[in-house]
Structure formats: structure tokens, C-alpha cells
Symmetry: C4
Subunit: 215 residues, 4 copies
Amino acid sequence: MNGHQRVWDDEGSAARLLALSDGVFAIAMTLLALDITLPAELDSDGFKRALRDVMPNLWAYALSFLVIAAFWRGHHQMFRYVREVDGTVIRLGLLSLGLVALMPFPTTLLAEYGDLPQSVAVYSGAVAAMGATQLALTVVLWKRPWLGSATLPDPVARNDVADLAWTVLIFAVAVPLAFVSPTGAKLWWAVLIPVKAVTGKRGKRLRAAAQRVGA
Amino acid sequence: MNGHQRVWDDEGSAARLLALSDGVFAIAMTLLALDITLPAELDSDGFKRALRDVMPNLWAYALSFLVIAAFWRGHHQMFRYVREVDGTVIRLGLLSLGLVALMPFPTTLLAEYGDLPQSVAVYSGAVAAMGATQLALTVVLWKRPWLGSATLPDPVARNDVADLAWTVLIFAVAVPLAFVSPTGAKLWWAVLIPVKAVTGKRGKRLRAAAQRVGA
Amino acid sequence: MNGHQRVWDDEGSAARLLALSDGVFAIAMTLLALDITLPAELDSDGFKRALRDVMPNLWAYALSFLVIAAFWRGHHQMFRYVREVDGTVIRLGLLSLGLVALMPFPTTLLAEYGDLPQSVAVYSGAVAAMGATQLALTVVLWKRPWLGSATLPDPVARNDVADLAWTVLIFAVAVPLAFVSPTGAKLWWAVLIPVKAVTGKRGKRLRAAAQRVGA
Amino acid sequence: MNGHQRVWDDEGSAARLLALSDGVFAIAMTLLALDITLPAELDSDGFKRALRDVMPNLWAYALSFLVIAAFWRGHHQMFRYVREVDGTVIRLGLLSLGLVALMPFPTTLLAEYGDLPQSVAVYSGAVAAMGATQLALTVVLWKRPWLGSATLPDPVARNDVADLAWTVLIFAVAVPLAFVSPTGAKLWWAVLIPVKAVTGKRGKRLRAAAQRVGA
């Protein structure tokens, strides 16, 4: 029982929270692309110009899809052994879905007004907030092993927490940075790439070790 | 059998009704956010103004997300032990989904015309109607224990009914109140907060007691 | 084996076709409501007029929601005992989803141009086409009992076929009728109400009888 | 074990990746139809003209629905025996969903500007890219039999690979072809029909043989 005291607040199987989550992730992913559109009835030149103008939307879509997909993958790993949910998990889970559902808005901001500080700040803030709720969820699930069918090994959990804490930190720092330089803040996001590479590789090694022991 | 007479009207497992419901809840939650958008090609000043103008939409989104999430959580608890559905449950379930799917409309009304009595009345009426169908569903599921894998203890069911009855009552009263004072009706909604705190705490205690007995 | 010859064309479990179907039904149901919207920044009088103008959209939403919900319920009953699907079932199932996904278009036509013959004809044709694919699916599933975990009793299947055949017939007749009188065609739809009442009651009786035997 | 070396990179059950995939497929299918719409408040003549003008959108919807439905069916067959997923499968699966979610854009291009080379090239490129990710996914799943509950027979896998390779090849060739002749490129797509007929028939025969042996 990992030394934690069980609270009797079980609200049943995790299946429906996961179904709702997969639904919101799937819809947010697909709605991101709705913004990639061309006005009707242009002439040939206007069409070519509009096709060029749609490129930033395509980039913003790719970026936001990557962000949401990464959060979904984290969500998938986090809930891997979870069988039941309680009130706290449901409340945090719903809060995080509310932020995922919001992502099309900062994505459009970034696509249409990507050179303005406010857009970059709003986008960074949205990702930091999503990361913070997933971080809280990870800690809650780790500290309540009675909700799961198996105990998440502490080194794996600690690595997941580090991964999300870095995500939150980097995007939170990008919020004020955006007002100094929007382009600088966007370049700063790239700091996450080497961080993710390290935590990702370590997580893979730790999970494999845990599974070979468990098998 | 709780003294109720079984009707042979079983239409099979609850799984697909729940899948459809989670789908509609997920989509309604995500579509709420579609309204949070900025016109393209504004200059820097127009952008800042539009960003300020979008704030009521963000508040309306947060409120409606909270409402739909609360109804989803109630739906999740209500169907926790339900294994089969009959014609009445399917019909009531679909009616309640029809009202959930409608929520983006009153949400937009509230965001764009929140100071007009009609908007507040329509919003209140929509929430009261959603509450009423969930109330009917709760009673039907409680009175048909043969649909479930376990019997919902009467005190838990009675508390759930009280919780939903208060929701319906408060939002139904807000409909005429909105025509007296739209702001007054919106403040009146807040009466639900202490009510929910009481029924929520009582529900948690009753559920925990029932589970400790059952375990 | 009901006298039918088994074709070895099994493509695996029905679970994913049902998940896709519930997804499309849920999204089509929710998108129907997207049309119920008001332009922003109206004055008080314009707002009241716009609220009145939105009423036909609300009616069209209610009607189409009812139609899609009825088809979903039929789909749910049809696939109740189905465990596996083959190429024919997948192809018919996808075709029927393509028609369900299309429903927002005839619904908007009906809401905006409900007094024009073309709108009523397109709406009637869409419902008739949906009914026809569900009819084909019902017959195919009935004639391939090896796909299911239980055999659908012939009287139940025959009643389901009759129910769908009446739906197709009534809406198909409404297509040419719409060009004589759009209002007449809409009134003609109501002929389905007593038909559905009879087949619905008979279906309930036949299913209950089959279950009491099976239990 | 088919001679392949197992990598310990398991990320748990395939169920949630499939739920997310079915969600994205369902939403992309349904959003395709959002483009089929008429402006409000036209007079009778304008309405008839608009109804005629909407026909290309209807054709583009039918084509894209067919394409997405075919990819879904391939996805369903590919994951039929898969029980677990690893990092590579998740990453490829998400990439392919990102392309499925994008389909409404090339579909609108084709509907509105179907006679311009860029539209046909973008559409062909999108389908080729979707095919390429599904091809990669098929190969990865085939070469990692430890992820599944049963081994896909090599002749079946080889036929699936051939089917997808032809799809990629035909649509990739259509990209440069579109700049020579948009209409020619669209006719060239039809080359896929006899190819699909052959691989489809062969696949059906091979699967049936494998099942009769397994049964």
C-alpha cells in the first residue's frame, strides 16, 4: 500500500473517464484542422495566394497536433495500470480535458497572429496549464496505488513527474519571455526537445526494466 | 427485487448507450470552445481589443464546461452498476443527450448577450431541462434494480435525487427571475454552490459507508 | 445454421465497427445543433427578431435528432447479438454511417428553406436512404447467424424488417409528394407515427417472449 | 517469434489507441460533410442555383468518405490481432491520425477548386501520405508478432503491403501528373479500382484459408 492511507472515495471503474478523454482528445485533434481552409470563389491568382497564406495554419496545426498527441501519450501511460477512479482523479481529469478542448483557440492565435507577444504568451500559458494538470494527475495516481491493478515503480513515476515538470517550467517561462521577444519565446520552446529526449530514453529504460522483472 | 415488478423490456447491454453518451458529452464539451475565436487580419490595436472582447466567451465556456462536466460525473455515478438498458432508459438517455448537444447554443447566447433577460432565461431553462431528464433517469434506474449488477442503496439514491431536484428547482426559478433582473438570476445560480457542497459531502459519506459494507 | 451457407469472410470482432458507429452517431447528433446560432452584436430588437428566427432551426434540430436517435436505437437492437463482422456488414455499415454523417445538410435545408419542395424532397430522400441501408443491414445480419452469439428469432427479425420497410416506403413516397405540396409531404411523414407504434409494440412483445424462453 | 528480436518497449494495451483512432476517423468522416451547406435567405432562384453549386461538394464528400472508410477498414484489419502497442506503433498511429484529421482540407480544395492543378496535387499527396503511414504501420506490426494474440500469416501480410504500396504509388504519381493535367490525374486515380479488386479478392481468399486452418 506504499505507506499511503486509503480514502474511501471510489467512484467506480476508470473505463468511462478514459472513453470521455479519448473522445475529447480525438475531437480537439480533428477540430485543430478546421482552421485550415480557403475562401470559396477566388480566381487563379487569389487561390495561389490563399494557398500560401494557409501555410502558417498548417504549421500551427502540426505543432498543436504534436502537443496534444504527446499529452495523449502521457495520459495513456499514466492510466495504464489504473482500474478505478475517485473524485479527485475525475475532477483533475475533467479539468485537463477542459484545457485540451481549448487548444484550437491558442492554435488559431498562433497561426493568424504568431508574431504578436500576446499570441505566443497565450499559447505558452495554455500548454503550461495542460502540463500542470497532467502533473497533478500523475502525482495523485502515483500516491493512490489502490486505484490501480499494479503499482507504478517509483523510479518510473519520478521520471514522469520530472518530464512534466520540465514541460510546465519551459512553457511557463515562455509566457513573460513572449513579451520581450515573441520569436525568442518560440525558439525557447525548442529547449524541450533535448529534455524530452533524455526523460523519454530514461523512461523507456526504466519501464523495460520494470516489465522484465514483472514478467 | 426491491418490491418493484420487473417489465420484460430489456434491450441489451448498457455499453453502447454509454459509448454514445460519452461521445456526445465529449463533443459538446469541445464544441463549446469553438466560439472562442478571433477574426483574422486585424491590426495590433484591433487584435488587443478582440482579445479583450473574447473574455466573456472564455467565461461562458468555463461555466458551461463546468455544467456539462458535473452532469457527466452524475451520469457516470448513476450508471455505475447498470449493466442492461430497457426502452425507457434508452429513450430518457437519448433525450438527455439531445439537451447536452444543445448546450453550445445557450452558451453562445450567454457569451454574446449575457445582459439580456432572454439569454439568461434560455440558459437557465436548458440547464433545468438537462437536470430534469437526469432526475427522471436516476429515479427510473433506482426503481429498476434488475438492470444493474448491484442494488444502489436507498440513502445514496435519495441523496442523488435531492441533488438533482435542487439543481432543477434553482435553474427553473432563474427563468422568470431573469426577466426581473438578468444579473440577479446569474447571482441566484450561485445558491447551488452551498447546496452542492452539502449533497456532495453527504453522497461521498453514504457511498463510502455502502462500499465498506459491500467490501 | 438456419439453412444459410457460411461464407468465410470474417473480418474480426464487431467492437470497432460499433465504436466507429457510435462516434459518427454522436458527432452527427451534436453537429445538428451547430446551426442553431445567432449573429453577434445585434441590438435588443435585432436580438429578439433573431431569437424568433432561430425557432425553425430548433424544430429541425429536434426532428433530426429524433430521426438519428431512432436509427441509433435500431442499430443498437440490430447489433445486439452480433459478435463478428464480415466484408459485407462493414461495407453496408460504413455506407449507412456516410448517410448519418450527411444529416446536418438536409436538416439545415429544412430549417432555412422548409417551404421549398426541394428541401423537403432532399430531407425525405436522405431519411429513406438511411432506412434502406439499415434495412439491408438487418436482412444481412439475420441471414448470417454465424456472425452472432445468439440467433435472432425469425418473428423478431421479420418485425424489424417490416418496421424499416415502412420507414423507407413512407419517406420515399414523400420525395415526389414534396413537389406537389411541401407541407403535404411533411404531414405525410406523420403517417409513420401509428406505423411505428404498431411495429414498436409488436417488437417489444416478440422480444420479451423470446427472452422469457431464453432465460 | 518469426525470427525477429523482441524490443522491450511495450506501452500497454492497444485498446486506447484504437479508441482514439476510431474517434478521429468518426470525426473526420462527419466533418467532411460540414462543407455541404447553403447560404441562408436566398430567393427561390438563388436557392436552386446554390443547390446545383453544392453538387461538387457532395461528390468530394462521397470520394473522401470512401477514402477514409477504406483506410479505416485497413486499420481495422491491421489491428485485428494486435493486443499491445509500443512507442513506434503509437508514434506511427498518431502520425496517421494527424493525416486523417487533415482530410477535410484537401476535400474542400477539391470541391471548390477541383479544376486547378494545386488542388488535385494536394489531395493526391494527402492520400499518398496517409497510405505511406499505414504501410509503415502494417510492416511494423507484421515484424513485431509479440504485440499480437496471433501471428498474421506472411502471405496475408505481404498482400496487405502490396495493396498499400500500390495506393501510395498511384497517388504519389498523381501529384506531378496534376500539374500536367488535373483531369488526367483524377482519371489516373481510377487505376486503383482494378488494383484494389485484385488485392481485395486475393486478401479475402488468403484470410479465409488462414481461418479455416486456424479454426
